[in-house]
């Protein structure tokens, strides 16, 4: 054999060695990756989603909760930009169709039980805002809301001790949402009785609903019957069905 042939053989041996090592590492890595993927997706579910993903949602919640500032506002718009008619979405918890006259709002967890009429709420400082309602599905509309700040209601009927959460429920608890206290007290979190200048229709949540543009639409609960102050993280209708509990913007 010539030196050149010997050198060529050495190159080929080197290539074989590198190829074997490279492709074995690649195969092991691919198998490990695929295994991790299968393992993750087959973990027991917590509220509709494998627990590692639920943990990740909660990690993200803590992170963004730390960064949260009540001074950051959802953008407001000229009334000319209102989306008309306002899209109707989500009727869970709206049956039966109660009349506004018989409707009452109950607050649980205040110093003493509170029952309010719509006129009681109208006595709070009146707020109006034209904001974007962003649905978790991906679409968004611009809506004008009239109502009172949840923060003002809470200041008037405060919990005896500071609480971490606020729970809101429809009559009969057909639909329910949980809010962290910072989001509940955000200046743009309104208990609204009018949409685009008109009293709420029943399918928009008459007589009183939540307008909370710093959360996805799912948190904008309609026809509120009960507000509860609590330190126990409240159940959330969609949060129990695989969605992020926090849903904060």
């Amino acid at each position: 054999m010539t030196d050149e042939e010997l050198a060529e053989l050495a190159v080929e041996a080197e290539l074989r060695k590198k190829s074997r090592r490279g492709f074995i590492v690649a195969g092991v890595a691919a198998a490990a990756g695929l295994g991790s993927w299968k393992w993750l997706n087959s973990r027991p579910r917590v509220d509709g989603v494998p627990w590692p993903y639920r943990r990740a949602l909660e990690f993200n919640e803590r992170l963004w909760g730390t960064y949260f500032s009540p001074n950051r506002l959802s953008p407001t718009y000229d009334d000319a930009r209102i989306t008309r008619p306002a899209r109707v979405n989500g009727g869970i918890g709206l049956e039966p169709n109660v009349d506004a006259a018989g409707w009452r709002l109950n607050i649980e967890g205040a110093a003493s039980p509170v029952t309010l009429t719509l006129d009681d709420l109208r006595a709070l400082p009146r707020r109006e805002m034209t904001t974007e309602l962003r649905c978790i599905e991906g679409w968004s509309i611009i809506v004008n809301w009239t109502g009172a700040r949840l923060a003002d209601l809470m200041a008037k009927f405060p919990p005896p001790q500071p609480v971490r959460y606020v729970a809101l429920e429809t009559p009969g608890r057909g639909y329910y949402v949980g809010l962290d206290i910072d989001s509940a007290q955000h200046p743009q979190t309104l208990l609204a009785w009018a949409l685009n200048g008109e009293p709420l229709t029943w399918n928009h949540g008459a007589p009183l609903r939540l307008a909370i543009p710093i959360k996805y639409g799912v948190k904008n609960i309609k026809r509120i019957a009960t507000i509860r102050y609590t330190n126990v993280r409240p159940a959330d209708f969609w949060g129990e069905r695989g969605y992020d509990w926090y849903c904060g913007h």
Binding site: E14, L15, W37, R54, S74, I136
Partner: protein, 207 residues
């Protein structure tokens, strides 16, 4: 004379092969999200169904906000590595690259005989491999703008609002799919020696 030439550093091979499944998961979970409101283009329900997409919005979001971390971190480390190692010099196009890339394309389409001289990457590769990284950055930024449009209000504003940011996020994803198609075609065309180098790091060179 046959010899082995070092082509891709180990770190770049890892970044590349980690990015492949990560980006695939991001596109897949993004599709699960997109189905809930297919605002720009849509497919017949039968096609969505054949791919198992419908009614998996919650799962899509959970995947997206879990794997998004790994996608972003891998991309960040890749850029950091190319800067620290000096590898960026092979990747970032210069003024000549844009004219050269045109000649490369003519050559690839068999409209021109000679390809312009190149080092590790030709001009078209430099442009696309740099563009894809910039696109990745913009995917993360537009993603943050629609993920936290209030807390990241300045980003939302920068991209022209929530709706526009969402549109950009979508267009970028279409860009990845197009990149993937061309990339695979080019890898197949270039052959095994080139592909193997992305796995084992070295390429066989005949002088």
């Amino acid at each position: 004379m046959k010899r082995l030439e070092r082509k891709h550093p180990l770190a770049i091979r890892w970044f590349h092969w980690l990015n492949f499944p990560l980006l695939a998961i991001m596109i897949w979970s993004g599709t699960l999200i997109y189905w809930a409101n297919p605002a720009y283009v849509t497919l017949p329900q039968s096609v969505w169904k054949a791919f198992g997409v419908p009614y998996r919005l919650a799962e899509g979001m959970a995947l997206h906000f879990f794997w998004g971390w790994f996608f972003a971190i891998n991309g960040f480390l890749y850029v950091l590595y190319t800067i620290v190692s000096g590898e960026w010099r092979q990747l970032v196009p210069d003024r000549k690259s844009f004219r050269e890339a045109w000649l490369v394309m003519l050559h690839d389409l068999h409209l021109r005989k000679e390809a312009p001289p190149q080092k590790k990457y030709n001009a078209a590769q430099k442009i696309s491999y740099t563009a894809i990284v910039v696109m990745g950055l913009f995917s993360v930024l537009t993603g943050l703008a629609i993920y936290k449009p209030v807390q990241m209000g300045w980003l939302r504003w920068l991209f022209g609002g929530y709706e526009v940011a969402r549109g950009l996020h979508f267009v970028l994803t279409v860009g990845y799919v197009l990149f993937f198609v061309v990339h695979i075609a080019q890898v197949v065309k270039t052959g095994w020696n080139n592909f193997r180098a992305m796995v084992i790091g070295v390429e066989v060179v005949n002088d």
